[in-house]
């Protein structure tokens, strides 16, 4: 009887001892704050896809395209490649202003020359800062033919 009582007491004690306080985490205060996505800088075209196929090697000058992005403005370097703002469906423009559809979690960029607005989709999510890759998807002439430009900074 004494052994049973001792065993019961030991198991109860062991159970109580095994319980510990829940883990606690330190959360940085700034992690709870949304930050505006930053893409300022000079972007250089890395690859061109047409209808899902990589055609970069077919256009030797493709990787020469640059996109200079500053606070609210953009400038497209000269190249032999199309860009959403250069189509003949409107007056083409290679510089102007830009904005995200959502400054914090953007899915598209709106390029404008003050008159025309060209909405271009982002092919991949962008982080608040330190973005080194950016993908743009768009169509130019035949609507069903899509392009993806992958830029690197």
């Amino acid at each position: 009887m004494r052994n049973i009582l001792f065993l019961t007491l030991t198991l109860t004690l062991a159970t109580l001892v095994s319980c510990d306080e829940a883990d606690t985490f330190d959360v940085r205060q700034d992690a709870l704050v949304d930050y505006v996505t930053d893409i300022n800088g000079t972007w250089t075209l890395h690859s061109v896809h047409r209808g899902g196929s990589d055609i970069t090697s077919h256009m030797p000058s493709a990787t020469g395209l640059t996109l200079q992005v500053e606070a609210g403005s953009f400038t497209l370097g000269s190249s032999n490649l199309p860009f959403p703002t250069l189509g003949n469906a409107r007056t083409p423009f290679s510089s102007g202003s830009w904005s995200f559809d959502d400054d914090y979690q953007p899915t598209s960029i709106n390029f404008t020359n003050g008159t025309d607005v060209v909405v271009t989709s982002l092919a991949m999510p962008l982080y608040a800062s330190n973005n080194s890759s950016m993908g743009l998807t768009f169509s130019m002439g035949c609507g069903a033919t899509s392009y993806q430009y992958n830029f690197k900074k």
Binding site: H58, T91, C142, A144, T145
Partner: protein, 360 residues
């Protein structure tokens, strides 16, 4: 001197006397195609109605037993003989040979008099109606792949009149072509393609002949397949290709031009077969009718070997031709060796290969 004796054959006389009115009944009638109401464009796969407004002038000769003959020139791919339905209507209502009804497809058997085609002299020449149409009218601007399909009406009692009627044509539009120039011909079975001037009294002076009239009318086809051809343009070639993927292209797209040196005239090799270098000589036709030529065989025009005697070049046309604020409507291509001593154009035609936009 031997005198020739005149034998009076009363059977010949009676037959001739009875046949005389029939001669008048069948030899005169004037036809004119007053107008063709046809859509300028239509969607591939749709059914379109074309209305021919026809003037029949019997030139004051009472006429019976007329059969109206209608010809349609359309792309073979449309299978007009299988898909088209033709009806005709007019104020002629003399029973039992009324001036309305459904027209009958000419099957080309020539087993009855009215099914035997008549050529430019108006006589039966052993050819079908369709063969006569092809020989006399041809295919106008269409480079080929067209056919004439003929229909005739039941007998009509035209009487002594000048009457306007309509022919309604239901056509199913195919998808293999982006444009075609359709032909419409109207005539009568006893004259066919007989060429003869109008008489002064006739009201149908707008037709080329007293006995028939025709008109060509272009129809653009939207929603055609990506490899559809414009029948009113140059014949397609397999020597060169232009593309930007399965859905087609416009000249705002990045396009890839292919050249196959093995696809020459009737499948023979081109003069650039086994060439070490191939240059693309291209001319852009702009929306305002002007052209921009890039035919200098510069480094930027040099093509890349992409397979066994196949070459390719990928360009964005506005930048390649230096065009801004202008629409490129066509690109004309030929291919040359480094010094320009060998030039390959559209085999069998000797002209540049012409490409327009193709977008589904």
């Amino acid at each position: 001197m031997k005198m020739r004796r005149f034998n009076f054959n009363y059977k010949t006389f009676i037959f001739g006397f009875l046949a005389l009115p029939l001669v008048f009944l069948f030899v005169t009638a004037c036809l004119e195609l007053k107008s063709v109401d046809a859509p300028d464009s239509a969607r591939a796969g749709s059914t379109q109605t074309v209305t021919l407004n026809v003037l029949l002038d019997t030139e004051n000769n009472n006429q019976n037993y007329k059969r109206l003959v209608i010809g349609i020139c359309a792309p073979k791919e449309w299978k007009v003989a299988e898909n088209a339905v033709l009806t005709f209507d007019s104020p002629l209502n003399t029973e039992p040979r009324v001036g309305n009804g459904t027209m009958i497809l000419d099957d080309g058997t020539q087993d009855k008099g009215y099914k035997k085609g008549r050529g430019a002299d108006g006589s039966q020449n052993g050819l079908t109606w369709a063969a006569n149409a092809e020989e006399i009218l041809g295919f106008d601007e269409n480079y080929g792949e067209m056919e004439w399909v003929m229909y005739y009406s039941d007998q009509v009692d035209a009487g002594n009149t000048s009457v306007e009627g309509t022919v309604s044509i239901s056509l199913k539009v195919g998808s293999a072509h982006s444009a075609a120039k359709l032909g419409y011909w109207v005539g009568v079975h006893d004259q066919g393609f007989k060429m003869e001037a109008h008489i002064d009294a006739s009201t149908t002076t707008g037709a080329p002949s007293r006995f028939y009239d025709y008109e060509w009318k272009k129809m653009a086809i939207t929603g055609a397949s990506a490899d559809a051809t414009d029948l009113t343009g140059p014949a397609p070639t397999y020597t060169a290709t232009v593309g930007a993927g399965a859905d087609g292209y416009t000249f705002d797209d990045i396009i890839t031009i292919g050249f196959d040196a093995k696809e020459g005239y009737l499948g023979a090799n081109t003069a650039l077969y086994n060439a070490g270098e191939v240059y693309m000589c291209a001319t852009a036709l702009l929306g305002d009718g002007t052209t921009v030529a890039k035919v200098d065989r510069s480094a930027s025009a040099k093509m890349t070997l992409s397979g066994a005697d196949t070459w390719s070049k990928t360009i964005w046309p506005p930048a390649y031709f230096g065009v801004s604020n202008q629409i490129i409507t066509e690109i004309h291509l030929n291919f040359q060796n480094a010094d320009g001593s060998i030039v390959v154009k559209n085999p069998g035609y000797g002209t540049d290969m012409v490409f327009g936009e193709k977008c589904q």
